[in-house]
């Protein structure tokens, strides 16, 4: 049955997209998990929702408006965390609620039902175009190359911020760069998995890898392998069972997480 479906170009594109996102999201997700920033990536995806609403209202490209809004909100969170005594959690909570409320308010102001806007909420991997694939590939390559180029600095900051600063790393620059990368990766993954579940694809494979990895090399390898398995098995499962692809992919990744958790408890 799967092989029959694979004859369709839109299914082929969906599988390619799920493999690419399965590599990119967990790669960035490793830093999100190690730095305990899960709530942050959730706030970013919901900022993208506000960006989509603003884009629709102004009649501009929705991907562009969502990226711009996600980057702006991520920088505001970073700036306020740095300059105020408010806790990181509180700032993210306020940004999160503000983004959702603004998005819903703007959508409510628009006349008629906009199915394209609501598709961003749940994602539609089967509607991925060749242009979307090209965008995901470009962002993926740029993300992985940038993070590998500065991997030592990113890891030093993740291990201990103060030591990294004493060792001459420009902590502020790399933190903003990381927030920028997370914002971009979250936004390009929205079409596939949707605003509600995109954080899962960033967090869950990385968290599963952390359960069983003994070193950083294993963490990065396992998280990408788990992400790709979740993408392929989840998509195949959704085709076979006729279920929504996004939730199926996420549920497969959670299955992997549970297995790794049990394994880590028995070691």
């Amino acid at each position: 049955m799967i092989s029959e479906f694979m004859a369709y170009p839109f299914i082929q594109r969906a599988f390619i997209a799920s493999v690419m996102v399965g590599i990119i999201c967990p790669f960035v997700g490793n830093f999100v998990v190690l730095r305990k920033m899960s709530f942050f990536s959730d706030a970013i995806s919901h900022s993208a929702f506000a960006g989509i609403a603003v884009g629709a209202l102004l009649g501009i490209d929705l991907s562009l408006s969502s990226i711009v809004m996600a980057v702006i909100i991520s920088f505001i969170i970073a700036y306020l965390s740095e300059r105020t005594s408010l806790s990181h959690d509180t700032i993210i909570g306020v940004a999160f609620s503000g983004a959702i409320a603004s998005g819903m308010l703007i959508m409510g102001m628009m006349k008629g039902y906009r199915a394209d806007l609501y598709s961003y909420l749940f994602g539609d991997i089967l509607a991925i175009s060749r242009a979307d694939l090209f965008i995901i590939l470009s962002v993926g390559v740029l993300t992985v190359v940038t993070m590998l180029a500065f991997l030592k600095s990113f890891l030093q900051i993740t291990f201990n911020r103060e030591l990294a600063q004493v060792e001459g790393i420009n902590v502020r620059f790399f933190e903003y760069l990381l927030f920028f990368i997370i914002a971009i990766v979250v936004t390009v993954s929205l079409k596939i998995i949707g605003i509600i579940l995109v954080t899962s694809l960033i967090i869950v494979p990385a968290a599963a890898a952390k359960n069983v990895a003994a070193n950083m090399r294993q963490l990065f390898s396992y998280s990408s392998v788990f992400g790709v398995i979740s993408g392929i098995v989840g998509l195949a499962g959704s085709v076979y069972l006729d279920t929504a692809s996004g939730p199926t992919i996420v549920l497969v990744s959670i299955g992997i997480f549970i297995v790794t958790l049990l394994k880590s408890r028995t070691v």
């Binding site: 291990f159 201990n160 103060e162 030591l163 070193n215 090399r217």
Partner: protein
């Protein structure tokens, strides 16, 4: 040239003076202890010197350069009081030390081999060869301190800041730790600035001592500076008798 020169340093937080007009200098190759009661500003002083805490007035020069100078970072090593990190971080000792070597994206094979050998020799220096592949989160307090020393000296610094590095380590571990630091001081000419609560350690290892209680109370040789009067003014009446036991111990 002075390894460290601090002039009129003032640190304020929430309208409270944490440090007032601190002035001192330290010659290269010396071991200097900073003592003082809890809340005296010892950690704040080290953090201000390292640029981790902003100061409102004064100047800090390390080997004649202000902190924040890019070239300076390779000259400075730091072991914090309490290392805060995620114990479940899947990071090995070897990886931690590799990350501390300045970044190089495309590292040629012979350079990678050199880096490996350098890290192996560092682990030998701190007596931790067998910890190379251990996870950082699984190390005991003493083991972690030795690895943090290795990390602090990985780029061959000229000055090392140690903020109560042996606290929480058993007595044997403390001895090994201090012996290691003194060996690095002798063999590499490393300037060491050590925060300690242990006056025995100060007497035994330090060339000079700085007594701090928000202000600089004394600065000089431990035997000359740590008088009953100074100890009482720094720590209060309760500590007055302690000084005699330290002298007797010597």
């Amino acid at each position: 040239m002075d390894a460290l020169s601090v002039e009129n340093l003032c640190v304020t937080a929430n309208d409270r003076h944490l440090l007032e007009n601190i002035t001192f200098s330290i010659k290269q190759g010396m071991v200097v202890a900073i003592i003082g009661p809890n809340g005296a500003g010892k950690t704040t002083l080290v953090k201000a010197i390292l640029g981790l805490v902003p100061y409102q007035q004064g100047s800090v020069l390390i080997f004649g350069h202000p902190i924040g100078n890019g070239d300076l970072s390779s000259k400075v090593g730091y072991v914090p009081q309490k290392l805060e990190f995620d114990r479940s971080f899947p990071l090995t000792v070897s990886e931690l030390l590799h990350f501390t070597v300045p970044p190089a994206f495309f590292l040629p094979f012979h350079k990678k081999k050199q880096e490996d050998e350098h890290i192996h020799s560092l682990l030998e220096v701190v007596g931790a060869q067998d910890l190379k592949n251990r996870s950082i989160g699984s190390l005991s307090g003493g083991e972690l301190q030795r690895i943090m020393i290795a990390k602090a000296i990985v780029n061959d610094p000229k000055i090392l800041f140690l903020d109560e590095p042996a606290s929480g380590v058993d007595i044997e571990g403390q001895e090994r730790f201090h012996d290691l630091v003194m060996r690095l001081n002798r063999e590499k000419g490393l300037t060491v600035i050590l925060i300690s609560h242990d006056l025995n350690v100060v007497y035994r290892y330090a060339d000079d001592v700085l007594c701090l209680n928000r202000k600089l109370v004394c600065n000089g040789k431990p035997a000359d500076m740590l008088t009953d009067e100074v100890i009482k003014s720094v720590y209060g009446e309760m500590m007055g008798g302690y000084i005699h036991s330290c002298h007797d111990h010597d």
